[in-house]
Amino acid sequence: MGVLTNNLTLFRDGFATTLQLFLYSAVLSLLLGTFLAMLRVSPVPVFRAIGTTYVTVVRNSPLTLVFGFFVFAYPYLEIIKFDFFTSAIVALTLYTSAFICEVVRSGINTVPVGQAEASRALGLTFPQMLGSVVLPQALRSVVPPLVSTLIALLKNTTIAAGFSVSEAGAIRDSLSEQGANMLLGLTWIAFGFVVLVIPLTLLQRVLEKRWSVAR
């Protein structure tokens, strides 16, 4: 208990930053991921190629490399200056959206082709068809893997500790410098993550119940 109470601000600030990183990148990667999935199922070959290339490249790169690129290499390109927190959000978003894209796409594949054909027969455009017929059904069927990807994102935020964002992953460094009991310290950090993951799991359960598709 002492490790936690003596370092309350350290833990509080760390997990607050983790939560911020997570919320920003979760929202952004859900948006970008869904957009990429739309590209991958679009009737235009160039769009499909862009989507596929993105997923292949980003999904195959280690997250640390993506972080390293944005913190150490990207500044040399002199496009837009990011501070370290923004860089972390960009890296996490780009990385996670590749996974979200595949999850959403697999959801789209569960919607019977007949529905798309019927939409087209009714005169809906491609965006209309996706937006009001296919995606609503697709997202419902992929709630569990979607939440798993978000949980992975939450834990991936700890990599930012190595790139000048002092979030929960950086608590360990401070504790060890103080010579605190590492076993207890790491247990508390793990506990903190469990506390953060539980709401996500509950959210998954609620959404699954409310959105279940009768087929």
């Binding site: 596929t52 290499a73 040399y76 000048s164 002092s166 460094d173 401070s174 060890s176 410098e177």
Partner: protein, 296 residues
């Protein structure tokens, strides 16, 4: 298939980009002295660590690898060099093991206590500050060098002259380290100007790029970097802490600790210590100050 080739090319390009951060490698980053005289038939009774060394027939020494002139691993040859490395070799020689019987192992700061507790390394020489909290988990021989917190800035920078001139400046150090904590606690600069990386070399890269204004840690470490880039970097030279560096040993191995302390005392008395200093850290032009051992 074509898409995959493209992806592979892009990834290779990305790797090349991340690798081109630093131009050229500095030629001299370590320096070394002639081999130390190896003691023969060393007998140490009642030291579990020494018994283990004898059974293994070799030493495992924990060091740092990214501190030029202190503990530095040449990326091309894989050779370690620097002041800490020489001290480690000296201690090994007096335990009866020549330099080629030492396996150096890089241990990051955060993992030092655990490495000593687990027995992964026999002893640790790597800018390891002696303090009371650490003494509860490991024991220390020495100090073999007394350093203090200082600032590394660009040579042309005349605005940063001491710790009190850091307001509004970006200050970089290693994540969670004592120096950066001191900057935070004493509010020497604003929280958004604190930059933390896993290693000092990343901070120095950012300093050379002009993305941070100062790198802070112990002067011994900073002097090594300043000696690497003497035209571009300088050490401010106003210490604001005292950091006695010790050799980390397993806790309660008093026999080995006494032996290492005897070795250090002898080296301080007969000029070996000074020779080691002059051939490594001394190259930065900084004067040496002999430490006084704290036996316990």
């Amino acid at each position: 298939m074509r898409v995959r080739t493209l992806a592979a090319l892009l990834l290779a390009g990305g790797l090349a980009l991340t690798a081109c951060g630093k131009e050229g490698t500095p030629g001299d980053t370590g320096g070394s002295t002639a081999a130390f005289e190896v003691a023969k038939d060393v007998k140490i009774e009642g030291s579990p660590t020494f018994d283990k060394i004898k059974a293994r027939g070799a030493l495992v020494v924990g060091v740092k690898e990214d501190q030029p002139f202190l503990g530095y691993k040449d990326p091309t040859t894989g050779q370690y060099s620097g002041f800490d490395i020489e001290i480690a070799k000296l201690v090994a020689a007096k335990l009866g093991y020549p330099a080629d019987k030492i396996q150096f192992r890089t241990i990051q700061s955060a993992a030092r206590e655990q490495a000593l507790i687990n027995g992964d390394v026999d002893y640790y020489v790597g800018t390891y500050t002696i303090n009371a909290a650490r003494k509860e988990k490991v024991s220390f021989a020495g100090p073999y060098l007394v350093a203090g917190q200082d600032l590394l800035v660009k040579k042309a920078d005349s605005a940063i002259t001491s710790k009190d001139t850091l307001k509004g400046k970006k200050v970089c150090s290693v994540t969670g380290s004592t120096p950066i904590k001191r900057i935070k606690d004493e509010k020497l600069t604003e929280p958004e100007n604190i930059v933390e990386f896993q290693g000092y070399s990343q901070c120095v890269t950012k300093l050379l790029d002009g993305e941070v204004d100062a790198v802070t840690t112990d002067d011994a470490i900073l002097k090594g970097y300043a000696a690497q880039e003497p035209e571009k970097l300088k050490v401010v030279g106003k210490l604001f802490s005292t950091e006695p560096y010790g050799i980390g040993l397993a806790k309660d191995d008093k026999v080995l600790r006494d032996k290492v302390n005897d070795t250090l005392q002898a080296a301080l008395d007969d000029g070996t210590w000074l020779k080691i200093y002059d051939s490594t850290l001394g190259k930065s032009g900084a004067k040496s100050e002999k430490p006084a051992l704290e036996r316990y």
